[in-house]
Symmetry: C2
Subunit: 398 residues, 2 copies
């Protein structure tokens, strides 16, 4: 008796989550150290010590009625102002509290903004490979997901196809940089071209096309890679941010939307997003963690840990003959499958206790995603398992 | 350029939230102690000390990667099992972890279950007066809200009209006991009759009709009032619970759904609700607070404080000639307006710095809601202001 829409999900589930359960099963069977679980983007670097220090200080010194109480649906004003000033300092922007809405992570922020802008049947463009949940979020509001095929050379967005697919029914475009699942950072040149195309099409069709920038990996970059702050390149842009990765707080569900003054009908969009945040059931982002963020928004997790994993896994796999774009950000490698059907590669990997997510889950078959937010021992141990896996594949080919 | 659906909200906003802003304005103008703000159900009794003790202990002793990390979308298994056992002990039920889904408060829980079951156009019945957000939650999934008119004698649900309005298109019924805005507790006799009607109609129409019990006030009862645990009276029932009031944690956004095994297609409903919780953007309920709840689920706020306010306000107002049902639970009085249009009464109240919410906001004009989760001084001070207000009304009538 569940709804028709939800029936479609049953059985299908989330491939990533299914892999998560499979990982738990294998670990119980073979021991944690013998399973190489690259399936889930769950940070394994602990939150910076400042987070727990802030929690304890707040609990000991703040009025509990305020600390655990309701505030405006958009979040505590002082928290939003503090974060706005942090963004301004780091990216030379000019936001204030009113441009920020605290949300239950970026996933909730994306739902809030999609509910705010989407009419049924309107189109939202994504670039493959993309996080499969985008399709579900768009579907929540009866929007239509339009997929741009991948540029598998660079995994920068395929802007030629993008230009062709924008039409008067296009309401929004979601991008994600640093990128899940490839680890690629969109270059400034890419952003400029993308913004030019959007402006050209807005003018042509006389409509607003919102660029939604999903940024949970903004701070996770290596070798000094630059992630342009996108509000500088385009007016109708909304940023969905999360502290899940930058502060290793994925379970706490804390992030924000930035809705700049330059967005068309900005104050209507802000007001409607505040209402969407309320009526979708979040009401407000968790209160204690909001206050924690205000004290920690200039802090970040230890990136050296991820960087060490990144190098070891990238070097190890390429030495085994596997191909992938060297990631500049996030904590994923997107590896070309040595077997034509990457799901067979994923299945064979399980024989060696290697858990990978098929690229089909990101609308990009022929590749697999490895999340290297795991212990360094797992990386090192996995390379022997990968060597055996590759031997078996080579023997199959003979 | 916001969606047509959201445009309807702009300008309208929430009357309760607007009053909240008005309260802040008046307090800045006249001083906090001179404003009698009965508008918002924001608990002013601090969380029990066990909450902050649990937070500090967890932060000092738990692995931060677990404490702040992802878990299953339904919540930590140990947390759900602990809460299930607490419910079983207190209400003689037989739930286990699998029957519980941790949610971002009851508001999110209601959204999750409505998304799980509702097809567009299906009807959800509510009993006036009702929490206005129910209409918005139902509207999120394109359901149709059907209102049963109030029984203003007792504020128990009007079961005769209820029986008449159930039809083959009825998918769910939302009830709320102890009740916002009246403070009434539905009697066991009411629950038995209501369940009988639902069973009769299920049989007649050959369809499942879900009873959704919104229970944020379950623990807030006075003079030994009993709140029947509803899963004992009807099979197709889902409980949406929140710790916002029982532990004074409204800002933390923590609650759960109970989906009993007796619900038709129970495991499909549980699986679909877990997916709805994920794709609506919550992903999971906040992790640290989940663990806190497991340690505090048998604790509750100091009810004497609310009870003292309840008696003082009820006695004070009835002595002034105002009429209302004596509340047995929650922290609201629902007072009959001494002026025909209660919005005029609310407007006149502001002259005396008294903030009340018009009954129209609960689909029950002619009444006003007073939330007595305020300081006792506010109650005492307000009685003088109410006396002057009543004098002015009497002089107007002459």
């Amino acid at each position: 008796m569940i709804s028709e829409k939800m029936k479609e999900f049953l059985g299908k589930g989330s491939a990533i989550r299914a892999m998560f359960e499979e990982g738990n099963r294998l670990k119980a069977l073979y021991g944690e150290e013998n399973v190489f679980d690259f399936s889930l983007g769950n940070p394994n670097v602990p939150a910076p010590k400042e987070v727990n220090e802030a929690i304890i200080d707040l609990v000991q010194n703040e009025d509990p009625v305020v600390l655990h109480g309701y505030m405006s649906n958009v979040g505590f004003e002082d928290v939003r102002q503090t974060i706005a000033e942090s963004i301004n300092r780091r990216f030379d922007t000019a936001f204030s509290a009113k441009n920020l809405i605290m949300t239950v992570g970026a996933a909730s922020g994306l739902n809030v903004i999609l509910k705010t802008i989407l009419n049924p049947g309107e189109e939202v463009i994504v670039f493959a490979p993309y996080f499969v949940e985008y399709g579900n979020y768009v579907g929540n509001y009866d929007g239509k997901l339009v997929t741009i095929s991948p540029d598998t050379e660079t995994f920068q967005p395929n802007l030629e196809e993008f230009r062709q697919k924008i039409n008067p029914n296009t309401k929004a475009v979601i991008i994600n940089t640093p990128h899940n699942p490839t680890g690629v950072v969109y270059s400034e040149a890419t952003i400029i071209k993308l913004a030019d195309i959007l402006r050209e099409k807005q003018e042509k069709f006389g409509s607003a096309i919102y660029l939604i920038s999903d940024e949970p990996y903004r701070e996770l970059v290596y070798e000094g890679a630059e992630v342009p702050y996108l509000t500088k390149y385009y007016d109708n842009i909304i940023v969905a941010y999360s502290y899940s990765k930058s502060l290793s707080l994925p379970g706490e569900r804390i992030g924000y939307l930035v809705i700049p003054d330059e967005v068309e009908d900005s104050s209507d969009v802000i007001d409607a997003a505040a209402i969407a945040n309320r009526i979708l059931g979040s009401v407000n982002a968790p209160s204690l963690i909001q206050k924690v963020i205000a004290r920690c928004c200039d802090v970040q997790v230890n990136l050296e840990f991820y960087d060490k994993n990144r190098k070891a896994l990238y070097n190890g796999l390429t030495e085994l003959g596997l191909e992938c774009v060297k990631p500049e950000g996030a904590f994923y490698l997107f590896v070309k499958s040595p077997m034509e059907d990457e799901r067979e590669f994923v299945a064979l990997g399980k024989k060696y206790n290697i858990l990978m997510v098929p690229g089909s889950s990101f609308a990009c078959p022929g590749y697999v995603r490895l999340a290297y937010c795991v212990s360094h021992e797992t990386i090192i141990g996995s390379l022997q398992a990968f060597a055996k896996l590759m031997e078996e594949i080579q023997s199959l080919e003979k």
